[in-house]
């Protein structure tokens, strides 16, 4: 274990009279993983093309069998693809925004879905932002970027937003940053305006110390690059009025099943949930319709 850690830290020590075959299996695996990683460009795209879920399985085939069992369980449940996002601390918000817009694009009646979504966003903005103490100058621009993109789903003027166009937008433009910012503001506003519902669960994510709702939002919700946890996800499910179901791939399931954690704060529980995949410290999107 010590050796493996030493290797992973980037300083392999191979004694002169040692050969590869003498290395412990764990270390060989670690070397293999490290070489896979080094062949991938260090800057992962903000959002990758959908990939078959078998590519996710391949990552773990030489490693943890309990991860593989859980991935097989996802396949059994009908999941076919994964859309990876960059692990920069914004991955939850970016994945959720993408899944949210993608769901509107795929809606049976996009016109109705978009109009409903826009009116919901509008009323939530009116309800939450000012009460949370945010200035219009801060939220109106990201709100505009988010809703302009959604309006393009039913655009009649040649800039119709398709799934491919959505992916392109999320790969290289400043729009996803503003959209992440808006979802952070919504999350923060929801927590700040209903502190009594959240404060019991709020603590410093590293130290476990109690914090006030305001301190928590200022330090772990508002700034870019701060990961989301249960409190943030619960708040965003409510503020955005969506159901969020997250498959927890943690390698700790005794029966090899994937546990879904369900955030159902939406008033209309018949709506389809947005589906994300969680691996410790990171969120991606999983899908039953892709590839």
């Amino acid at each position: 274990m010590v050796q493996q850690t030493a290797f992973l830290s980037g300083y392999p020590i191979l004694l002169d009279d040692m050969e590869m075959k003498d290395l412990p299996r764990a270390q060989l695996y670690a070397m293999n993983q490290a070489s896979i990683r080094s062949s991938i460009p260090s800057e992962q795209p903000l959002m990758s093309e959908p990939a078959p879920i078998s590519t996710l399985r391949a990552e773990y085939e030489n490693g943890s069998s309990s991860f593989v069992a859980q991935i097989d369980d996802l396949v059994r449940q009908g999941f076919t693809s994964i859309i990876r996002t960059r692990g920069d601390g914004d991955c939850f918000y970016r994945s959720l925004a993408f899944a949210y817009i993608e769901q509107l694009i795929r809606a049976e009646e996009p016109e109705l879905a978009v109009v409903t979504a826009l009116s919901g966003l509008e009323s939530q903005k009116e309800k939450l932002m000012k009460d949370a103490g945010f200035q219009e100058i801060v939220y109106d621009l990201p709100y505009g970027v988010f809703t302009d993109l959604i309006k393009r789903i039913i655009s009649q003027s040649g800039d119709l937003l398709t799934s491919a166009g959505l992916l392109e937008t999320f790969q290289d433009s400043e729009a996803p940053q503003y959209i992440v910012m808006y979802l952070r503001l919504l999350t923060s506003a929801q927590i700040r305006t209903a502190p009594e519902e959240f404060e019991e669960f709020i603590m410093h994510p590293d130290t476990g110390m109690k914090m006030t709702v305001t301190e928590f939002c200022e330090n772990f919700v508002d700034p870019m690059g701060k990961e989301a946890d249960h409190v943030q996800i619960t708040a965003l499910s409510r503020a955005l009025q969506v159901r969020i179901h997250i498959a927890y791939l943690d390698g700790h399931s005794p029966d090899g099943k994937v546990k879904f954690v369900e955030f159902d704060q939406a008033p209309d529980s018949r709506s389809e949930p947005l589906l994300l995949l969680y691996r410790p410290g990171h969120y991606d999107i999983i899908d039953k319709n892709g590839v």
Binding site: F134, I137, L141, V145, E174, M181, R184, E218, P223, M224
Partner: protein, 219 residues
């Protein structure tokens, strides 16, 4: 669409329309990304009566990354470099969030003047002065406000005796201490420099022997 430009233009306009806050943001040249902010020193502090100017650079990735600010006006404060105007404040570093604006950041600087944090200093010498004698620190800070940030009006001619006194007050030292070592034949500017670095102030003066000071002066 240049969203950064739109936001900054709105922020500048917003600040112009807000007469209540006393915070000003002006263009330095034709670029909206290089600005000059200013605000009055807070009441009941050594900075009262002064107007403090801040250089503002809006980075490419604003508002996702922090705006860059430093004082143009010289300020005597533990968290502000007395030489460069660099500021030690969390929101200008890793505690920045896009919720903050140019105006709210300038207001935070204004409140930084009310609440020095000598345990997390930007200027270690000033922080030492503050910890040794708050009263003496405040006198110096008030003097700096007076000569660098104050509306002193026209600068009349200053006689040499007056200018020398200024130099000592700027360093936050006492006239008698400086003349004592000057009397031993050392140059005044050297004496001031050494006494300032050694924090020869208040009760701390008793902890520093004359020999140590002379050693330093001879270096």
């Amino acid at each position: 669409m240049d969203a950064r430009l739109r936001r900054v233009n709105k922020e500048i306009a917003d600040c112009k329309n807000d007469k209540a806050s006393n915070i000003k943001i002006d263009l330095v040249d034709s670029s909206p990304f290089h600005l000059k902010g200013s605000f009055p020193g807070p009441k009941d502090t050594p900075y009262e009566g002064g107007v403090f100017e801040v250089d503002i650079v809006v980075p490419e990735s604003y508002p996702f990354q922090a705006v860059k600010m430093k004082f143009i006006t010289k300020v005597y404060h533990p968290n502000i470099s007395s030489a460069s105007g660099a500021i030690c404040l969390d929101i200008l570093k890793d505690a920045w969030s896009p919720v903050l604006t140019l105006k709210s950041t300038l207001i935070s600087l204004q409140s930084l003047l009310c609440s020095p944090e000598p345990n997390d200093p930007q200027d270690a010498e000033v922080a030492k002065h503050y910890m040794t004698s708050k009263k003496s620190f405040e006198e110096t800070a008030r003097y700096w406000t007076h000569i660098y940030a104050g509306g002193l009006g026209s600068k009349g001619k200053v006689d040499t005796k007056e200018a020398a006194k200024d130099e000592i007050a700027i360093a936050g030292l006492e006239q008698t201490h400086v003349t004592q070592f000057e009397g031993l034949g050392f140059e005044r500017s050297k004496v001031i420099d050494v006494l300032r670095r050694m924090n020869y102030r208040g009760s701390n003066a008793a902890n520093i022997s004359d020999e140590r000071i002379i050693d330093e002066l001879l270096k």
